[in-house]
Amino acid sequence: MENAERIRLIVSDVLEVDAGKIHAESHQADIAEWDSLAQLRIVTALEQEFGVKPTMREIAELTSIPAITRYLEASFAQ
C-alpha cells in the first residue's frame, strides 16, 4: 500500500472517522475530531506503524495528511 493511503487509514482509525471523510489533502482544521490529544494519538500510531520518532517541532507540524506524508518520506530517504 502506498504511504499516503496507509496514513489516511491510520488517521481515520485513530480519529474513529469514516475513512471516506479523510482524503489525501485533509488537514487538522477540516476535521473536528482531530484535536490536540488526537494529534498525540496519531503521532504514537505513526511511530508504531513506521518506526519513526519525530521531534517536538516535527510533531507540531504533523497536522495534515500531506505534512505527515512529507515527513515520513523525508525520514525514509535518510
Binding site: D13, V14, E16, S36, L37, L40, R41, T44, A45, Q48, E49, T55, M56, I59
Partner: protein, 625 residues
C-alpha cells in the same frame, strides 16, 4: 460470573459481552499494540451494556489518554468501564463537584506529578538543604493524605493513589547517594512512607507506578516529548501496563478473584512423564537447570495457596504413580495434601474440571486451568469457556512469570481466613468421611460439636465480611453485592445492624461463615441481606442464626414486625425456603417474594446440636446513646 447489581447477567446483551470477554481471556494482552487497543475499544463502545465499572481519573497530569487502556483490561476481567476525567490539577475541587458525585465512581485514581505539584522545589532540588527536602517530603505526604481523607468522605469508591517513579538519573549523578537525603533517597522514602501511611485505610490502595515502570524500563515507560507537549509523560506501553495493574486492583476491590488453580502434572509440576520415567526419573529439585525451574514453579504455586487460592490436580495418569512420586520425591515443595481436590484418571479433562468444581462446591467459573498441552487447553476453551486457561510456554524457566502474569488471583489483602482456606477444605473432607460413618443426621450433627458465636461486625472483620458479600452465591437471600465502602458506611449508620457468625467444630475453626444486615425503620426490622458460606451449609447453622436474629428482635421493645425478602437467582436455591421454614409468612403486597413475622408469632426453633454465643447488635447504640 457473579451476578452484579444493575446488570442482568442473562439475555442477548450479556451474551455479547460474555463472548467478547471469552475472546479476551484467550488474548495475550501484552502484545496488543496501539492498533489492537483501538480495535478493542471500538468493540467495547459498540456494546450497549455490561457489568458497569465507573472509574474517575483525578490528578495534575493529562489523564485523557489513559481510559482506553484501563477499559481494555477491565473488560477482560468482566467489567464495562466508564470514565470521568477531572479537570487538570483540580483533584481537590473535583471531590466536591456535582459531576463527580453524580458519576458515583467505583474507583478513583489519583495521579500526581511531583514536577507539577512542587515545580520550584523539584527544579532546584540539588540546591535544597536536607531539612528542606524532608519538609518537602512531609508536605507532599500531607497533601496526599488530606486528599485521601476528603475523598473517603466524598465517595464510597476504592481509591488508587499512584506513587512516584524514581529519577532514572539523579541530577548529581553517582554523587547523589553520598549526600544525606539525596534525590533517590527522597523519592524512595516518599514512596515508602506513602505506602505505610495509606495502609491504615482499608479502602485505599497504592498504584505502584514506579514498579510497573521499572518492570518495563524507564526508557520505555516515559517520553519527555509528551511531558513538554501535553503534561503527561507516560508512553502507551506504560499506560497498557497500568491498565492491567488497575484491573488487578479492581479484582481485589470487588473481591472477584477466581478461587482455585487446577494443574496438570507431567511437564507442568515436574519435567518428564512419571508413568514412563518413574518417580526417580522425573525432573524437579536441585541438580540440573530444568529441575531447578520446576522447583521454583512449585514454590510459586505454593505461595498462591498461602494467598487463599485452592489448588487442584487434573491429569491423565495412574493415580498410584502420582502418589508414589509425591511420596518418594519429598524435596518437592508441594505435597499431595496441598491439593484440595484431584481428578487423576483417563477421562477427558473437562469432566475432571467439572468434578473438581463440584467437589469443592465452587463454580466452574472460579477455576484457572494450567497445562503444557495445547490440545487439552483447546478442549477446555471449547467445552468450558468460563474457565480461564493458561498454556505453559516451552521453557520451564518462564513458568513462574506466566503464573505471575495471571490477574485473576488478586486480593486487596490476604486475610487470616485465606491462609487457612486449604486446611478448611481438608477439614471439610474429614467431615464428610465422618458423616458417612454416622447413621442418622442428628447424631452426626451432635457429634460435630459445633459452636457458633454471633454478634456485631467490627471494623477488623469488615474485609472478610465484604469478601463474603462479593463471593457468596448459594445461601444468599438477596445477593446484594455491597462494596467495602457501602458496608463501612452501614457500620456507622444507626439504622443498620451488621451481624456475623463464626463457627468452629471438633475438626477446627471455620472462621466467619455468615453475615447479615438488619435495617431498622420505625417499628419494623428488615433483613436486607443474609448470607452464609457454602462450607457451613447443611448443618442447621442457619437456624441458629435465625434464632439469634429473632432474639435480637424480641429484645428491642419498640420493634413490632420482622420482614425479609428473597430474590431468586440462578444459584441461590438452597436459601429459597429459608424464611417459610423459620416461621415467616409471605407478605401479600409487592411483586417480589416478601415475608413478615410479627412479634407474637416469633418462636425459637430447636437447634440443640449447636452451642451458641450471642453478643447484642444494639450494643454500640447503647454506648453512644
Amino acid at each position: 460470573m457473579n451476578t452484579r447489581l444493575g446488570f442482568n447477567p442473562s439475555g442477548p446483551v450479556a451474551e455479547e459481552f460474555a463472548a467478547l470477554r471469552a475472546q479476551l481471556l484467550d488474548t495475550d494482552m501484552t502484545s496488543l499494540g496501539s492498533a489492537g487497543y483501538r480495535a478493542l475499544n471500538r468493540q467495547l463502545k459498540a456494546l450497549k451494556d455490561g457489568p458497569p465499572l465507573r472509574v474517575a481519573y483525578l490528578g495534575n497530569v493529562t489523564l485523557n489518554l489513559l481510559p482506553p487502556f484501563i477499559a481494555a483490561h477491565c473488560a477482560r476481567e468482566g467489567w464495562l468501564a466508564q470514565s470521568h476525567i477531572g479537570n487538570f490539577g483540580q483533584h481537590f475541587q473535583e471531590l466536591r463537584s456535582p459531576e463527580f458525585s453524580a458519576f458515583a465512581p467505583d474507583i478513583v485514581l489519583l495521579v500526581l506529578s511531583l514536577r507539577l505539584l512542587r515545580p520550584n522545589a523539584m527544579a532546584n532540588f540539588t540546591s535544597l538543604s536536607a531539612p528542606v527536602r524532608q519538609a518537602l517530603r512531609d508536605d507532599v505526604l500531607g497533601e496526599i493524605e488530606s486528599w485521601v481523607n476528603q475523598a473517603l468522605s466524598a465517595t464510597r469508591a476504592t481509591l488508587l493513589v499512584a506513587n512516584f517513579p524514581l529519577p532514572a538519573v539523579p541530577a548529581l549523578g553517582i554523587a547523589d547517594s553520598a549526600h544525606a537525603y539525596g534525590e533517590l533517597e527522597f523519592h524512595m522514602e516518599l514512596n515508602l512512607e506513602l505506602a505505610r501511611r495509606l495502609r491504615a485505610y482499608s479502602r485505599v490502595q497504592i498504584l505502584d507506578v514506579n514498579r510497573i515502570a521499572s518492570r518495563l524500563g524507564y526508557a520505555q515507560a516515559f517520553d519527555e516529548r509528551m511531558f513538554h507537549i501535553s503534561k503527561m509523560d507516560w508512553t502507551e506501553a506504560l499506560m497498557a501496563s497500568i491498565g492491567q495493574e488497575v484491573a488487578r486492583h479492581v479484582i481485589g476491590a470487588k473481591g472477584t478473584a477466581r478461587k482455585c488453580l487446577v494443574l496438570d502434572i507431567d511437564n507442568t509440576l515436574w519435567g518428564g512423564v512419571v508413568g514412563e520415567d518413574g518417580p526417580a526419573g522425573i525432573r524437579v529439585g536441585h541438580g540440573d537447570a530444568e529441575s531447578e525451574a520446576f522447583l521454583a514453579f512449585q514454590q510459586r504455586i505454593r505461595s498462591l495457596k498461602d494467598r487463599g487460592i485452592l489448588l487442584a490436580l487434573c491429569s491423565k495418569n495412574n493415580p498410584a504413580d502420582v502418589e508414589e512420586a509425591f511420596r518418594l520425591r519429598d524435596e518437592m515443595p508441594l505435597r499431595l495434601e496441598d491439593f484440595s481436590a484431584r481428578s487423576i484418571n483417563w477421562e477427558p479433562k473437562h469432566q475432571g474440571l467439572a468434578a473438581i468444581a463440584a467437589d469443592l462446591n465452587i463454580g466452574i467459573d472460579a477455576l484457572v486451568f494450567i497445562d503444557d498441552n495445547p490440545a487439552e487447553i483447546a478442549l477446555i476453551r471449547q467445552m468450558l469457556p468460563m474457565v480461564e486457561c493458561v498454556l505453559l510456554p516451552a521453557d520451564p524457566a518462564s513458568f513462574v512469570a506466566t503464573l505471575d502474569g495471571l490477574t485473576s488471583f488478586e486480593k486487596s489483602a490476604v486475610l487470616a481466613d485465606d491462609i487457612h482456606k486449604a486446611r478448611q477444605y481438608q477439614e471439610e473432607a474429614e467431615r464428610s468421611r465422618f458423616s458417612s460413618r454416622h447413621d442418622s443426621m442428628d447424631e452426626y450433627l451432635t457429634q460435630l460439636q459445633m459452636e457458633v458465636s454471633m454478634g456485631p461486625v467490627d471494623a477488623g472483620s469488615l474485609q472478610r465480611v465484604h469478601q463474603m458479600f462479593a463471593k457468596t452465591n448459594q445461601f444468599n437471600v438477596t445477593t446484594k453485592r455491597y462494596t467495602l465502602g457501602e458496608l463501612e458506611a452501614m457500620l456507622h449508620s444507626p439504622e443498620h445492624h451488621l451481624g456475623m457468625a463464626a463457627l468452629r467444630d471438633r475438626f477446627g475453626d471455620l472462621g466467619i461463615i455468615a453475615s447479615f444486615i438488619l435495617v431498622e425503620d420505625g417499628t419494623g426490622l428488615h433483613i436486607d441481606s443474609l448470607l452464609m458460606s457454602c462450607r457451613a451449609l447443611g448443618r442447621g447453622v442457619e437456624t441458629a442464626i435465625m434464632n439469634f436474629i429473632k432474639q435480637q428482635f424480641n429484645q428491642q421493645e419498640h420493634l413490632a414486625v420482622l420482614t425479609a425478602e428473597f430474590v431468586p437467582t440462578a444459584k441461590n436455591k438452597p436459601a429459597a425456603n429459608y424464611f417459610t421454614e423459620h416461621g415467616f409468612r409471605p407478605a401479600a403486597n409487592g411483586a417480589g417474594q416478601f415475608y413478615a413475622l410479627h412479634k407474637n408469632d416469633v418462636d425459637i426453633q430447636p437447634c440443640d446440636w449447636i452451642k451458641t454465643k450471642g453478643e447484642s447488635l444494639w450494643k454500640m447504640q447503647k454506648e453512644y446513646g
